[in-house]
């Protein structure tokens, strides 16, 4: 069975629920959401108005789930959604929406537009309208275990090098520990120093933890492309590994959508609650800080600012923790205008970065971040998502801005009080 228009429309019908119906019923076409969307503000093209990105799904709702709409359909005065329209909307739904949810914060009638785009992608994927790049990533996620094709031996090689550099072991497949760490492929490939950083922090704080060789991948292409059963399968792998290792917590790494997938969507995708808890690495670090298990020394003197990854802050609820942590290690921490839950997206989330077709608009959308940075002129930019990080580096380079992008976890690791050395000297 292959993707088909019919399956797509059927999928739209499956997605309708009370919130969607309430949202569509409430829209007054005021256009405020356009001003919340970086794809509109940076292009000025009204088709990027967030609510417009839902138009085909709205029509399915109206024609199938509202009395007047059904009446209009029966009278033949409403035109059904066509496959050509879905094709037209494909770029709006995948290339120019990062699911950042800023529009959902601004809509005066309270429409959670990002919630609906997430649902709309189910129908788009089922009707064969997902972008090539995301399809490839999703297929690799299922067949290889990583959207970027990172296999266990690669991770093992990285681990071996970390172990050699740090002179300690990185626990893999250790049963009965408290925490199971997930990693994003991005971290394994582009930012392997993250593994070293986290190892050092955990050694410092005395955390009992492990990485699972069966499910080390945190990302979930299934929720980006919008196929719940694929997303559920990826979540199941993590749940299975966590259950086998009998851990109490699963740690979501510095990746935005991974947190959304494992923390918030996961239990709903697999249809049952977890018997472990999911924490974001920043949540854990801040908890360690308050309990005194994480001690840092020295402060960065550079002017630092923090970019909130949308799925971690606005859509995930981890907002205060990174600020607490940064203040611990930064002497000059400044907020961007509109930070925290009103932060502007980097422009590459929600699968946009995996979609080569979106490259041009992705870099255009970055200008919004540039404008934010221009207002405060930081020396360095800190974030907690590898995907944001790559996009930020990309955009900064493109705009010839000399601002390094740093990982918050790595900065913390660089400022650990060196008790490990003392311990190391004792037998």
């Amino acid at each position: 069975m292959s993707a088909s228009f019919k399956r797509g429309i059927n999928s739209f019908k499956e997605q309708m629920d009370a919130p969607v119906a309430a949202f569509f019923s409430s829209c007054v076409r005021c256009g405020l959401c356009s001003q919340a969307c970086l794809f509109y503000t940076e292009t000025g093209d009204p088709k990027y108005t967030p609510i417009n990105k839902l138009e085909p799904m709205r029509r399915v709702w109206q024609q199938e789930y509202s009395f007047w709409g059904k009446l209009a359909s029966a009278l033949g005065i409403s035109k059904p959604v066509t496959d050509a329209e879905l094709t037209e909307w494909e770029t709006l739904v995948y290339d120019s929406c990062t699911l950042c949810g800023r529009c959902s914060m601004v809509c005066p009638v309270g429409n959670d537009i990002a919630y609906m785009i997430r649902k709309m992608r189910e129908g788009m994927a089922a009707s064969g309208h997902a972008p090539e790049g995301l399809i490839g990533a999703t297929q690799r996620a299922i067949t290889i275990g990583s959207p970027m094709g990172v296999k266990l031996p690669a991770l093992q090689a990285q681990i071996r090098h970390v172990e050699k550099d740090l002179g300690c072991t990185v626990p893999v497949d250790v049963q009965g520990v408290d925490y199971m760490l997930l990693l994003s492929s991005m971290e394994i490939m582009n930012f392997p120093e993250f593994i070293g950083a986290i190892t050092r922090i955990f050694r410092h704080a005395g955390i009992s933890w492990t990485i699972s060789s069966q499910a080390f991948e945190a990302t979930n292409s299934g929720i980006q492309i919008g196929v719940s059963e694929i997303a559920a399968e990826l979540v199941e792998r993590v749940v299975r590994a966590a259950t086998e290792l009998k851990v109490k917590y699963v740690i979501s790494p510095e990746c935005g959508h991974a947190y959304m997938a494992i923390r918030w969507e996961g239990p709903n995708l697999i249809g049952r609650p977890y018997d472990f808890k999911v924490v974001h690495i920043l949540e854990l670090l801040d908890e360690l800080r308050t309990s005194g298990r994480l001690q840092t020394s020295g402060k960065e003197t550079q002017r630092l600012t923090y970019h909130d990854p949308c799925q971690i802050a606005r859509r995930g609820g981890v907002v205060q923790q990174p600020r607490n942590l940064l203040r611990e290690v930064a002497a000059d921490f400044v907020e961007m205008p509109e930070a925290g839950i009103m932060n502007w997206c980097c422009g590459a989330g929600g699968g946009v970065s995996a979609n080569e077709r979106a490259d041009e608009i992705r870099l255009k959308a970055f200008i919004r971040k540039k404008k934010q940075l221009d207002e405060i002129n930081p020396d360095a930019l800190v974030s907690a998502c590898s995907n944001c990080r790559i996009q930020l580096e990309d955009g900064l380079e493109e705009n010839e801005m000399d601002i390094p992008v740093l990982s918050l976890t790595e900065i913390i690791a660089d400022h650990l009080v060196e008790k490990e050395q003392k311990e190391g000297q004792q037998p």
Binding site: L32, P46, T49, W68, V109, I341
Partner: protein, 219 residues
């Protein structure tokens, strides 16, 4: 038909029909939404969905600073015409009488010169809103027939009410009849259009706030 007959028709059968369509339509649309239901969230909550939902119902009335700066006209004009409309609708003595007749209780009215001025300001604002809808590229792009229809049936009672109050053009009973009929037109159109947002926005805001509140975010 004499003007008194017209007025009596407007106050009588027409109002009955309009009331039935209005309330029946609203109930149908609200229940159509609610009955659809939603799945329980199985993820462990960080905050209260109910508290978040209730909070957002209130807080969404106050835009964030960035949005206010970027869409100043939209927000200010929106505030003015909504407030104006509700002041005129709910605080004008003759209107309160209708509500008292319907509900069995009333409330104090405010001086008529204030109502008069508010009406004028609201009408002018609505004209500006229409101009904005036509000129702003996003709003023009998004607008459908029903957006203009909704605008029309909203401004009509204000205009006819203003004319009736000042008895301009026609005899008072005719003007009042036209005014009442224009309100009935609004009532009839209401459940079929985006005007439903007056009711569904509470649901939309609640759901939005509940989804966010569950995750510990104040949306």
């Amino acid at each position: 038909m004499t003007e008194t007959e017209l007025l009596m028709w407007a106050r009588g059968p027409a109002l009955q029909v309009a009331t039935v369509i209005f309330l029946l339509g609203i109930m149908v649309r609200i229940l159509e939404i609610l009955v659809l239901g939603r799945k329980a969230n199985l993820a462990e909550a960080r905050g209260s969905a109910v508290a978040g939902g209730l909070r957002t119902i209130v807080t969404r009335s106050f835009p964030d600073r960035g949005t206010l700066q970027r869409s100043t006209f939209n927000i200010v004009a929106g505030y003015v015409f909504h407030t104006g409309f509700f002041v005129v609708l709910f605080l004008f003595a003759p209107h309160i009488l209708v509500f008292r007749d319907l509900l069995g209780f009333g409330w104090p009215s405010i001086p008529t010169p204030i109502i008069d001025a508010t009406t004028l300001v609201t009408i002018i604002t609505l004209l500006a809103v229409l101009l904005h809808r036509v000129q702003d590229k996003v709003m023009r792009f998004l607008s459908r027939f029903q957006d203009y229809l909704a605008w029309f049936v909203t401004i009509l009672p204000l205009v006819t009410g203003y004319l009736a109050f000042h008895r301009i053009g026609l005899t008072p009973p005719t003007l009042i009849a036209i005014h009442i009929l224009s309100v009935e037109l609004l009532m009839v159109v209401f459940p079929f259009t985006k005007l439903m947002h007056a009711f569904t926005l509470f649901m939309a805001r609640y759901y939005n706030g509940a989804i966010a509140g569950y995750k510990g975010v104040n949306s």
